[in-house]
């Protein structure tokens, strides 16, 4: 149920990002879609990917805003500062309340987090037939992760080939 809500939110944010007139609004729509993806990872019980998605999203948004902030900045100078301030405080309050609810659910500091990993340790050799448990996790249980690393290497090689190719280049 929450997953469907988040997916509809992401689709809406993506449409806003494509259709917005100025670059800053489109960037905010893009980052909203990325935040929704991070939440979807959290709901699907993949906190590792959620953290990665969140960090990469923050970095990309910082770079993109830095690149576009000087191009066009919508200046709002009419007297809406009271509404803006009240809305900001309301959102901060809602965020703190939700964060308080979420942080109470976390296990205590130092408690072992072995919800998924104990299955890896117990059933890893029987399920994959690999004595090397690290390889069993990286290539079999977390094969999707290794696919991302292989895609990074592929993109790096193709990028080097595309930059240093001989044909199709304009001679200086």
């Amino acid at each position: 149920m929450e997953l469907h809500l988040i997916i509809f939110f992401m689709i809406f944010a993506a449409i806003v990002a494509v259709e917005a007139k100025d670059l800053l609004s489109s960037l905010i729509g893009l980052s909203a879609a990325g935040l929704g993806l991070s939440l979807a990872f959290l709901i699907l019980k993949a906190p590792n990917l959620a953290i990665t998605q969140l960090v990469v999203e923050i970095l990309c948004v910082i770079i993109l805003i830095h690149a576009t902030i000087n191009k066009d900045i919508p200046l709002v100078k009419d007297g809406r500062w009271l509404f803006n301030t009240i809305a900001t405080f309301i959102f901060v309050g809602v965020f703190l309340f939700l964060a308080f609810l979420a942080l109470r659910e976390l296990p205590a500091f130092g408690a072992p987090l072995m919800n998924v990993s104990k299955d890896y340790l117990a059933l890893g050799q029987a399920k994959t037939g690999a004595d090397n448990l690290v390889a069993a996790i990286t290539l079999n249980f977390r094969s999707y992760d290794a696919l991302g690393e292989a895609a990074v290497i592929f993109a790096a090689v193709i990028g080097v080939l595309a930059i240093s190719r001989k044909t199709g280049k304009i001679d200086e």
């Binding site: 037939g129 004595d131 292989a150 080939l161 001989k166």
Partner: protein, 132 residues
Amino acid sequence: MNNQTGMSLIVKTITRLTVGLILIYGIYIMLQGHIGPGGGFAGGVIIALSFIHLILAFGRKAVFQKMNEARGLIYIASGALAFLLLSTLGFLGISGVGFMPFCDTAVALLVSSGLFVMFLVLIGLASKEKRI
């Protein structure tokens, strides 16, 4: 093979003896990644190093007849596609014992041909700049 290109006769003779061993060691590291330390990435780098060893000893022209940029691109693409296929098979529930050497082989194909083609392109650039 003429003796004009590449390094001296001693280096060429020793290279003829050792390059096969290096290649076999790379394949061994690649295939035993699920038993001991090793795996596709390390094995692929060793396989690429054996080809680079050949280039350093015999010169570029001797190796370009066997392996060039276009053929390397085919290997890169086939390795990436094979690993994509293997790692998305998990969505269908197809996984199990004896599955990991294939994953390692696909990764090693991608990594070895990728590093080798990168090296080829970079030394191609270097030689072109030296000629100018």
